[in-house]
Symmetry: C2
Subunit: 181 residues, 2 copies
DNA sequence: CTTGTCATGTAAGAGGTTACATGATTCG
DNA sequence: CGAATCATGTAACCTCTTACATGACAAG
């Protein structure tokens, strides 16, 4: 469960409740999970049982109690071991590429409409990222950490930007009448 | 099950056995599934039961029989409906970015080693893609289809290339002594 | 004489998602 | 008056992976 490491990472920043993590993860696309309760609450229970985090219940007036989790030394060790472990390759899962791979039976107009819809979708995503960039707050404990978070965010933005450039180029080429069908 | 559409796509090209599809999918990274038996054989049984493909058993001497599947009109319709359906956004799942996000506790040397390993991994992947590019054979039924497959392949290669450029830049910046830790 | 290929399939389980359930409070 | 937020958790289900099982033949 890779999400456990992501959660340990957050808790290495500062204590969080399950609800906090759920919100952060579901709004992030670096932390690509849907942010569903099942995974997060189960992970926290598991981390607690294995003494990688401690649990603190905060009773609140007129609001449900919060369970706030704090990382332990053991948790920090697990995280560090993972940080030093062999990096995984990125997974580029792009169902649209598969759609295109079999799209030759479509007419010129249908193909252009399909590419146009994709272009629009990517464009919306890019604009949303640019707006949210300010709202995103990263742990800024050292200049290096701030730098890393900025670069990671840039990496994701660039991925969408390249996708947008790509689809515009393909669309243009297909409209240049070289391909009759 | 998106893999069903991928399979229907292949069968819209020409008939295949489950074993054929398994090999193609497990060697491809556009078709990003692992290519395990379970999914592919189950999908084919399902497609057969819903009359989207027909099954033909070819008995062979000294070899196990092959079940070769051919797409039906109904299958072609399902595929066409999917081709015209709303494109999904790509999913960039990059566990290494998550690793980096929490990597600030690492020393300068450990960080550089981590980035170096990632750089190496991506580089290997890129080289492998360039070698396999010739081996890859696409359906070349029309010039447009050939063009699309070439561009799709380029899209994937470019993703790795950008990742490589990115990691080299980050690594360089972190070694420029601006960040002491 | 073990490993790999051909070719089918099943079993077990991890990983992940949507939806439901509770119950008080606040916002439009 | 309905919806959203806070906050926890469970149920049901889909997706996907690894590993196992068969059995003949070929190659190192």
């Amino acid at each position: 469960m890779d999400i456990q490491y992501a959660i340990l990472g957050f808790l290495s920043w500062r204590p969080f409740s399950g609800y906090d993590l759920k919100k952060i993860i579901s709004e992030s696309d670096l932390f690509y999970w849907s942010g569903n309760n099942n995974q997060i609450y189960k992970s926290l229970i598991d981390l607690h049982q294995t003494n990688q985090v401690t649990q603190q219940i905060l009773y609140q007036e007129n609001l449900p109690s919060r369970k706030v989790y704090t990382i332990t030394e053991k948790g920090i060790h697990t995280l560090r071991a993972w940080l030093l472990s062999h990096p995984e390759l990125p997974e580029f899962r792009n169902n649209f590429m598969i759609q295109l791979a079999w799209a030759d039976p479509l007419s010129k107009e249908e193909m252009d409409a399909l590419l146009g819809t994709y272009e629009e979708e990517i464009d919306v995503q890019l604009r949303m990222r640019l707006v949210q960039a300010q709202a995103q707050r990263a742990p800024q404990r050292t200049p290096r950490e701030s730098y890393l978070w900025a670069r990671i965010s840039e990496n994701m933005t660039a991925s969408y930007q390249h996708e947008l450039d790509w689809v515009r180029e393909v669309r243009k080429a297909l409209n240049e009448e070289k391909f009759m069908s």
